[in-house]
């Protein structure tokens, strides 16, 4: 029975959460953007068996019409991002990490842009496509 008791104790990994767990949940509400369409995560090389170069991660977000591909390269506590958007336009892109300031950048004519020294952690990318597409943001993702 000792073993059973030990097993039960290990099941009991649930603890009352520290206050900061509640606070991050409350803070999330301030990032509500009901007016902006969301490009959902369609592919994450981290969760697939696809071979990618070491330290590189591929992400793809999509709506029915638009596509945002991101190549993430880990560089210690920060990451660099190579972003490609479809349809390709000269547009402003906002990289919005939870743990740092928003970085603004502009895509080139091929819809490509890079952003370096982005703090690791959850982030979302906002693409300012002009009308009739309008702004689209990626789902939140941990990088």
């Amino acid at each position: 029975m000792k073993q059973v008791a030990s097993g039960r104790r290990e099941v009991a990994v649930i603890e009352r959460p520290p206050e900061w767990v509640r606070l991050v949940g409350l803070a999330a509400f301030d990032r509500r953007e009901p007016e902006v369409r969301v490009a959902d995560l369609e592919y994450d090389s981290l969760m697939s068996h696809t071979e990618v170069p070491a330290g590189t991660r591929l992400l793809r977000f999509a709506t029915e019409q638009e596509d945002v591909s991101v190549t993430v390269n880990a560089t210690g506590m920060s990451v660099s991002l190579a972003i490609a958007i479809v349809p390709a336009r000269l547009v402003r892109v906002d990289v919005r990490p939870i743990h740092g300031p928003v970085k603004h950048a502009w895509t080139d004519g091929h819809g490509r842009v890079t952003a370096g020294d982005v703090p690791a952690g959850p982030l979302s990318i906002l693409v300012h496509w002009p009308p009739p597409i309008g702004p689209v943001r990626t789902a939140w993702i941990q990088v």
Binding site: R8, E10, V11, G25, I98, W140, I141, Q142
Partner: protein, 195 residues
Amino acid sequence: MTAAASEVPVALVPTENATPEQLVARAIKGDRRAWEALVDLYSGLIWSVTRQFRLCDADAADVAQTTWLRLLEHIDRLHDASRVGPWLATTARRECLRTVAHRRRVVLTGEEGDLDRADIVQSEVDAGLLAAERCRDVGNAVAQLPQRWRDIMTLLTADPPTSYEEISATLQVPIGSIGPTRRRCLRRLQDLLEL
């Protein structure tokens, strides 16, 4: 009179008495108090998932934050708003897996001298790995339980334990079913863990 017509309008139900489904409906409309009530209701659940994966506080915070942000993104697209708790648990679990996978691929080292200390800390690491492995086995066993059982066990094994009355109210299950479900859960876990 139809069932819908006999229901009290969602907006008139006090937040403290609202069901998860009603809280979701209000949060969709931008009701911050409803969101706060959801956070109060389910923070423990998300935290427990991160503990199962033994994440450090910084990673657990990122998982919790991402999970809540994901709910905001999907809150008006949930198949069944009354199942928001299990939805959050599943999302948190996926984010934990993402974090673990990321940590496995990215190894950060400080000064080179730190590597020289590897032998000294090896036994601690082994103990940690064994504990993590045991934890993983338990986590795998728990993952094989039906979702409803997992929800009940999550609340039952909270510290301090959640009362049967609270569990009944939170999960909308008959209070009389909690004890028998607990017994069945533990029996199944014993079998799965070969205890």
